[in-house]
Symmetry: C2
Subunit: 244 residues, 2 copies
Amino acid sequence: MKLTVVGLGPGAGLDLTGHARQALEDCDMIVGYTAYIDLIRGEFSHKELGSTPMRREVDRCRWAVEETLKGKSVAVVCSGDSGVYGMAALVYEVAQEYDPIEIEVVAGITAACGGAAVLGAPLTHDFAVISLSDLLTPWELIVRRLDCAAKGDFSIALYNPSSKSRGDYLQKACDVLLQTKSGDTVCGIVRNIGREGENGIVTTLSALRDTQVDMFTTVFIGNRSTVNLGGKMVTPRGYMQRGT
Amino acid sequence: MKLTVVGLGPGAGLDLTGHARQALEDCDMIVGYTAYIDLIRGEFSHKELGSTPMRREVDRCRWAVEETLKGKSVAVVCSGDSGVYGMAALVYEVAQEYDPIEIEVVAGITAACGGAAVLGAPLTHDFAVISLSDLLTPWELIVRRLDCAAKGDFSIALYNPSSKSRGDYLQKACDVLLQTKSGDTVCGIVRNIGREGENGIVTTLSALRDTQVDMFTTVFIGNRSTVNLGGKMVTPRGYMQRGT
């Protein structure tokens, strides 16, 4: 009996690593948010599948721990990576309240890497990953992180840039970044990474500020060196300047 | 004819995604740094394999572009992700000097995600990725980024924390972080991610400062909330505090 936290990558299917596929094949039961269970339902319909709605994350992890303690091998699935804004930390926290179980974490392709591949190569150099969701994080801390990332000239991947109740958060974030970064900074927007309708656009920070995005979008902000090469967002590491 | 930049994940084999495996199976020729070609030689020995030594990155990408223009399908392989400190950006830059070719980027598990899975879940919340290598980046910029990441209370993944000629860089980096972060900050060290001898240790920032690491190591620095849960490095997102 073992609990494995598995990152499915952006779209599951061919985004799964060999390790992730093996973990899903070896387990008795797969537990996850309804939309993520739907991503793998076709391939793993012979498994016991347990889904819970959004905002019931603690209950979901409790359920997985309790089923593991009954003697099952359970996989908790996450979109993208199992760690980055995923369930791995919560599984460890919840498991503290129970008898010890074996926990394994299997990494997946997070949206920063999956989305970067669609846009070109925006994250070749140092970068920061920031979520604009203030459901669990005070907005003041998000603003501070945006400001620090801009002052450090990091490339930035923004997760959860928008939702129904936070329609203007990307605009507010851009305004923070524009205090330090130029309006000409090369930026990218990727929708539906690894899924039907996958689509990337390269733009500028000024234009991004006035762009409406949805919750299926990941946003990329370049550093000072990031360029638009024929429609691709490319952050050089410096090899060309060295010359070999 | 197409040039695909493929991230192998930390250890290739089961770390490959389905997309990465398909790209390697579909190509005529695989080009990469000698040590990365060695990772896949067993499985893809029926392909034309071309390796070049370290510090010949531009030559390697030129070679791949020129072979593509001859009509081959070529895969350039990178350890970890194809973007993060990988070859994807350089391929786009080099390709500008030639007739147009089709370029595709296939993401892989970067050491931040792969190493995090070994340690537990250190990167659940906002994080920064910083390389300590000053081969292509001025040390002053690295220090500024460390300082900004600390001031923003990011969790941090440090790549290239040491090499033969940079034995004290991790110590110097810790000294920058200790100006802002507490010496009790939970940290992690992972060696040989996804390879033989994979090994993770959870420690503190004070202790990390006096630890000698090698070039096969990735280092993780927690944020203010990161805890050591029974030897695992865990950064909560905040679900437990909310309660459901």
